[in-house]
Symmetry: C2
Subunit: 321 residues, 2 copies
């Protein structure tokens, strides 16, 4: 058995790899997709970024790395405190490309109000890398009284998205396929901390997740454990350009990565307030509800039909982040 | 201008890259080789590991990654608290190799008394990686009253090494060149926290550094700022197998990486006590003294001659860690 590209996607292959190999070796806790919260309310998260190409409409690997990591902290309700930045450079990389990526990373860190405090730089021979791989690790602090996580999800909870979905996936797809979507769809890559802070201040949030690899579908699949989730497909906000791209390639926007959005679970009594808060940041919407059931995700289409969400084995778009 | 292999070595090219590119972009503080110490006495450090081959006499990339990171924390006087582990896997990697590396990482974490709390796994296409790259990040806590760093080095300080030098470099060299050193020299890769804790408990340590990329020479070159350092070459402990390897390849043991040793600066009045403490862990020795001067490193050979240490542009052994 060998590692395949599917193992790096947001599908079942990755979960199988984590549950059968990484988890047993280093401890199942280390499987967490987002941040681990340690004693003393310190949150810690790490992400390796191998996105191809290095630059895409709306961002580059530097901006992506910083946003991805501070957003993982935000998903634990943590306020980011410090970041580390480790680079694996391929021999032959133009220094101007490196400079641009580092400038993007620094700018994203300023936007997110976090410092890059330590780093490391390694170089591999031509043909042993792909320009630049970036690994960012973040630590943050979870304020007293904040408790968000899958353990708080209950039947009846409303499921929200903080903005339109699938932009990052569509942006990378468009540039990779050389299509003319560039002007229409830029990646949504951005820190979400401000929207999360505003939401936490107003609403008792049960759970937060950023729909990166595998998109909103991967988040729903992961969190439909011990209960079902029913999604109203027509309620999911999708930009026209993203819809055009997904129709051309036979993809589903729910499976495309976002890098500046989050999914929030709140009590249904608070859903209107939550949507109002999030609407000041983007095209937020309630997209479904948690309901009793064994752990399925139902997608209700605009014709009234219902289907079960099937999570792919790999990912339609490898190396999206 | 492009990135070259020399930029990944322990020589002047890396320093130039950091000072001209990484530093100005993300802030000079992020240049620190070892851990950054933040408010609240939290230490943070990150390292990307690209060692080739993945397995070498005495260890593998998993053990190396964990030890390298906990040792960087120890060099700041910090007690390790938690680690993250990010993997970049190349398509086609046998899962049994991954399992072995993860088991090594987990074992090294147990030895060091630290938990791996979070992780990430990405996959790149065949020919875009080299089996496995590992990035580990560590956080720790610097106990009240501990203050070690270059700012405390003073003329008159004694320079110690905690054990014989160059083993990691020689071990990687031997397997890479297919030479028969395997039995004679294994890498020294190991956590040094216990030796550091014992030393800190007994002696007022001024500065600690682990001589990884670029070896003891790189540490001395970096720390000879505002004063000179004079080294007695004959006092540097070197295993016979390491000496044989260096003579064959025309290398200097002072330039070969260690992964389970450290250099300590202590007041000369405390040198005997420090050596006594460290001797319970390995072949520790006083190897030189700090003296007034503009920032040079003098090497006194066994014939009484003196030469200036010249730090190479790149590294005799790329991808050593």
């Amino acid at each position: 058995m060998t590692v395949t590209l599917a193992h790096g996607g947001g599908g079942r292959a990755l979960r199988a790899l984590l549950e059968s190999h990484v988890g047993p070796a280093v401890g199942m806790d280390a499987l967490r997709h987002d941040a681990a919260v340690l004693d003393g309310r310190i949150a810690m998260t790490t992400d390796a970024f191998v996105v191809h190409p290095l630059t895409f409409p709306g961002g580059d690997i530097g901006r992506l790395a910083v946003c991805g990591t501070v957003n993982d902290l935000a998903m634990a309700g943590a306020v980011p405190y410090a970041l580390s930045l480790a680079l694996i450079l391929e021999e032959g990389l133009p220094l101007e490309v490196l400079d641009r990526i580092l400038a993007s990373a620094a700018e994203a860190a300023r936007e997110a109000g976090v410092r890059i405090v330590t780093g490391d730089t390694k170089v591999v021979e031509r043909g042993r890398g792909d320009g630049v791989y970036v690994t960012t690790t973040g630590i943050g602090h979870v304020p007293e009284g904040v408790d968000v996580g899958p353990h708080r999800i209950r039947p009846g909870d409303a499921v929200l998205v903080s903005g339109d979905v699938g932009r990052h996936g569509a942006a990378v797809l468009s540039v990779r396929e050389g299509l003319g979507f560039d002007d229409a769809v830029g990646s949504d890559v951005a820190p979400v901390a401000a929207a999360v802070a505003a939401l936490l201040a107003e609403v008792d949030v049960h759970c937060l997740r950023d729909p990166t690899r595998g998109g909103v579908a991967a988040v729903l699949d992961e969190l439909a454990t011990g209960h079902d989730i029913a999604i109203d497909e027509a309620a999911v906000p999708v930009h026209d350009g993203v819809r055009a791209a997904t129709e051309l390639f036979g993809l589903d926007p729910l499976h495309l990565a976002c890098e500046g959005r989050f999914v929030a679970f709140v009590m249904k009594e608070e859903v209107n307030r939550a949507v109002d808060v999030l609407r000041t940041f983007g095209e937020a919407a309630e997209i479904g509800r948690v309901q009793s059931g064994p752990g399925r995700v139902w997608i209700r289409d605009s014709f009234g039909g219902e289907r079960l969400l099937v999570r792919p084995w790999g990912d339609p778009l490898p190396r999206i982040c």
